[in-house]
């Protein structure tokens, strides 16, 4: 095996944080592809540019995603990375593994690929970095026969992902792991066979802490929340005070809705005015707990800046029950896709299409009523549409008022 001199990236083996260069070199000891990847990276560091070409047409028969083609411009100089495709393996909900399962994943990858991985990629897949085109069908057969499927790529439903939810968190307002699994199973076709105008991401967080950043990077963000009163254990409140917490400064004073008070003994919460931001609950984990009528808020549209700026997801459905078999959520997803499919141009994310066609078109398309919880503030311009139906409605309301002698605004 060729030995590369790598003075630049060797600098990244120094220092306390674990080194990805060390990882690449570990794999390079026994793997020709990784060895060339090390040399290839050193060259990038020396010249300050990358050499990977655009993704190409690679994949497994019948699927339109799950493998990302990657070729180097420097295939002659570094034959081990001439083909260096990525394979996305759909992760289990919550990123839990057993050593037996993980070792099997490693064994297959050592046999066919570079031995390099990302655990995990940004979307959530377990990413296998670097293999050749002729190994792809074997890789798929080996993994799928052992219960592992590919994730999504291209103009498809991307692999759904979730926070660890009820498995190890007291704040989860629905079963994120189970919903993630159920949606992934329900929409296998949409994951493997790109049929959309562009990518579509679904991320599930159990509470407003949003540990999977769903509000910022999922076309559909399903964020757990509750109705009803925050549960208070006043004895534990006293314990926090005794241990030195300045409850008035750290909790009451930082409550965004000012719906709490503390008299030196007990915390009182005006729950009707609480917006469930989670600040107090996360700081007083032993004393405060979310209410018991649990569900989720569904928000739509977030994405990174390309093409005309980043978006955060918009509140569409303020509260939805999230219970097996999740029919309501699944039906809503289908309606959303149908509207998107009818209205999108190529490479338009749903948030962009909503901006183009208008939120009203979207809400009507999926059968949602307008409600104040959806907005930060009402429109500030007077340029609006009145449909014939709207006018009939306004006039009918006024006619009714004349009859009853009572205004209804």
């Amino acid at each position: 095996m060729k030995k590369y001199s790598t003075p630049l990236i060797d600098e990244l083996e120094k220092g306390p944080w674990p080194s990805f260069v060390t990882e690449m070199k570990k794999a390079a000891k026994t793997n020709e592809m990784s060895n060339d990847a090390v040399g290839h990276l050193e060259k990038c560091y020396a010249t300050k540019v990358g050499y990977w070409k655009h993704g190409g047409i690679v994949g497994v028969l019948g699927y339109g995603g799950g493998v990302i083609g990657r070729y180097s411009e420097l295939g002659d100089e570094f034959p081990g990375v001439a083909h260096f495709h990525t394979v996305r393996i759909n992760q289990p909900s919550g990123f839990y593994y057993t050593s037996a399962a993980m070792k099997e994943i490693c064994d297959i990858w050592d046999k066919y690929g570079s031995g390099l991985t990302n655990v995990h990629g940004s979307t959530g897949d377990l990413v296998l970095l670097g293999t050749k085109t002729d190994a792809l069908e074997n890789i798929f057969a080996e993994y799928s026969s052992r219960g592992w499927d590919l994730g999504g790529s291209g103009s498809a439903l991307r692999t759904p992902s979730c926070c660890l939810g009820p498995s190890r968190c007291e704040w989860s307002n629905y079963d994120t792991l189970d919903l993630c699994y159920a949606l992934t199973q329900e929409f296998q076709d949409e994951i493997h066979r790109p049929m959309f105008s562009y990518k579509f991401k679904i991320k599930m967080s159990g509470c407003a802490c949003d540990c999977v950043a769903s509000i910022a990077r999922a076309d559909m963000s399903i964020i757990g929340t509750w109705k009803g009163d925050i549960r208070i254990d006043q004895a534990e409140v006293a314990n926090y005070a005794k241990k030195g917490m300045d409850i008035n400064a750290e909790i009451i004073g930082m409550c965004p809705t000012q719906c709490m008070s503390y008299d030196g003994k007990e915390i009182k919460i005006n729950n009707a005015e609480c917006n469930r931001c989670m600040h107090c609950i996360t700081k007083m984990t032993k004393a405060l707990r979310p209410g018991t009528e649990r569900g989720a808020t569904i928000c739509i549209g977030s994405k990174a800046p390309i093409v005309v700026g980043s978006l955060l997801s918009w509140v569409i459905v303020p509260f939805i029950k999230v219970e097996e078999p999740y029919t309501e959520v699944k039906d809503l997803i289908r309606k959303i896709w149908e509207w998107w499919d009818d209205n999108a141009k190529p490479r338009e994310r749903i948030g962009e299409v909503i901006e183009m066609k208008g939120m009203r078109s979207f809400l009507e398309g999926i059968g949602q009523e307008p409600i104040p919880q959806q907005i930060k503030e009402p429109r500030k311009d007077p340029f609006m549409f009145y449909t014939e139906e709207d006018m009939v409605g306004f006039k009918a309301k006024e006619a009714e008022e004349k009859k009853t002698g009572k205004y209804k605004f």
């Binding site: 990244l12 120094k14 220092g15 306390p16 944080w17 080194s19 990805f20 990882e23 690449m24 794999a27 990276l41 990038c44 300050k48 540019v49 990358g50 990977w52 497994v60 990657r70 289990p92 919550g94 839990y96 593994y97 050593s99 993980m102 994943i105 490693c106 031995g115 390099l116 990302n118 655990v119 995990h120 940004s122 069908e137 799928s144 592992w148 499927d149 009820p166 498995s167 190890r168 968190c169 007291e170 189970d178 993630c180 992934t184 199973q185 296998q188 407003a208 802490c209 949003d210 950043a213 509000i215 750290e250 931001c277 989670m278 707990r289 390309i306 093409v307 980043s310 955060l312 490479r347």
Partner: protein, 356 residues
């Protein structure tokens, strides 16, 4: 060995087979948790059961050799169960407190770093960079490694007013919520792309390329059977390169990084926020990007010295004002920090109530 018969559309294995027994038993019935050290926390169930978690740093790019090491540790202390986090850390969990210290000792002996829980700097969300991406204008992994070497005390032990979430994107495509981080590094191009006209016809669709430009800088070039780019309108986003490979935007001397601050994704106290641009350009300086690293360290230090307890970077800046952020950090304010893309009307100040 024969290749087994493939199966399609089976999806991932069901998660429950990978859950440790203590988690299965207390699933959905956890009562509270406490952070013991930046590397350790304990969850307590309504049943009274306790589960200790140890969080370990990972470079995200892992060899199978290191993953097997994770497996060995899990087998030795955790009945073979373990997990990864959304920020690519590794977590080992024990239900028996007597295993906690031996687990931590073994991790220390093997050179693993524990930390990142609570008011700390956890692992950096990042993209592929030169390691594996075609549109990278820097190396994300290298930047992250250099940053975290410098910020290690904030991962392992040194407390901050609140958590600080860092992210690195190796181009403006920003795979991975970079745009809502306390401190985000985004690699940028700074030059108008060049077009290999002779390849355009065979590799690109004219309407797609024209449509890909957010500033409408691209128009047809019939003489070359290609397109031309209006240099006065181009903001170097590279989206045209994504849809059309013969358009080249890489430039070794001009590609660099920008720094954005003040984003967050949770709704605690205040709503989720985008990160905002404060440093428009720092040259790519592989292998260790000293200026970019120093800038990040400096921003973290100024935040740590000035923010109130529980304030995230963006909340601290909202309280003190951006003019104060620039004066406290000494960062030069530039035209690039004034939005001239889509958000100008929402981001300019419309009152005389600013600070000197």
């Amino acid at each position: 060995m024969a290749i087994p018969q493939r199966k399609t559309d089976i999806g991932p294995p069901k998660y429950d087979q990978f859950l440790p027994p203590a988690i299965k038993k207390n699933y959905g019935k956890w009562k509270y948790h406490e952070v013991i050290t930046p590397g350790t926390m304990v969850h307590v169930g309504e049943s009274g059961d306790k589960l200790w978690t140890v969080r370990v740093a990972s470079p995200r790019l892992l060899s199978t050799a290191t993953i097997r090491e994770h497996c060995d540790i899990a087998e030795k202390f955790c009945d073979g169960f373990f997990r990864y986090t959304t920020r690519n850390n590794v977590e080992f969990m024990v239900a028996d407190e007597s295993k906690l210290e031996p687990l931590k000792k073994e991790l220390t002996d093997r050179g693993f770093k524990m930390g990142g829980i609570g008011n700390a700097i956890s692992n950096v969300v990042h993209t592929q960079g030169w390691v594996h991406c075609h549109s990278a204008c820097t190396d994300a992994s290298g930047l992250v490694k250099a940053m975290m070497d410098e910020l290690m005390p904030y991962f392992e032990s040194k407390p901050l007013p609140n958590k600080v979430r860092l992210a690195v994107a190796c181009c403006v495509n920003m795979c991975g919520a970079v745009h809502c981080s306390d401190i985000a590094v985004v690699a940028v191009h700074t030059k108008v792309p060049e077009i290999k006209h002779e390849l355009f016809k065979n590799m690109c669709e004219l309407p797609t390329v024209i449509g890909s430009c957010p500033t409408r800088a691209i128009s047809p070039d019939p003489a070359n059977k290609s397109v031309k780019i209006n240099a006065e309108k181009c903001m170097y986003c590279g989206n045209c390169f994504t849809v059309c490979p013969p358009i080249s935007i890489k430039d070794a001397d001009r590609d660099g990084v920008a720094i954005l601050v003040g984003g967050k994704v949770n709704s605690l106290r205040s709503n989720p926020k985008f990160s905002k641009l404060v440093i428009p350009y720092i040259s790519n300086e592989p292998p260790r990007w000293p200026k970019a690293v120093a800038a990040i360290k400096h921003i973290v230090d100024v935040y740590a010295a000035n923010a109130r307890k529980h304030e995230r970077v963006g909340e601290w800046i909202d309280r003190i004002g951006w003019e104060r952020f620039f004066s406290l950090t000494g960062i030069d304010f530039t035209f690039q920090s004034i939005d001239d893309f889509t958000f100008m009307r929402d981001t300019m100040r419309t009152a005389s109530t600013f600070k000197w």
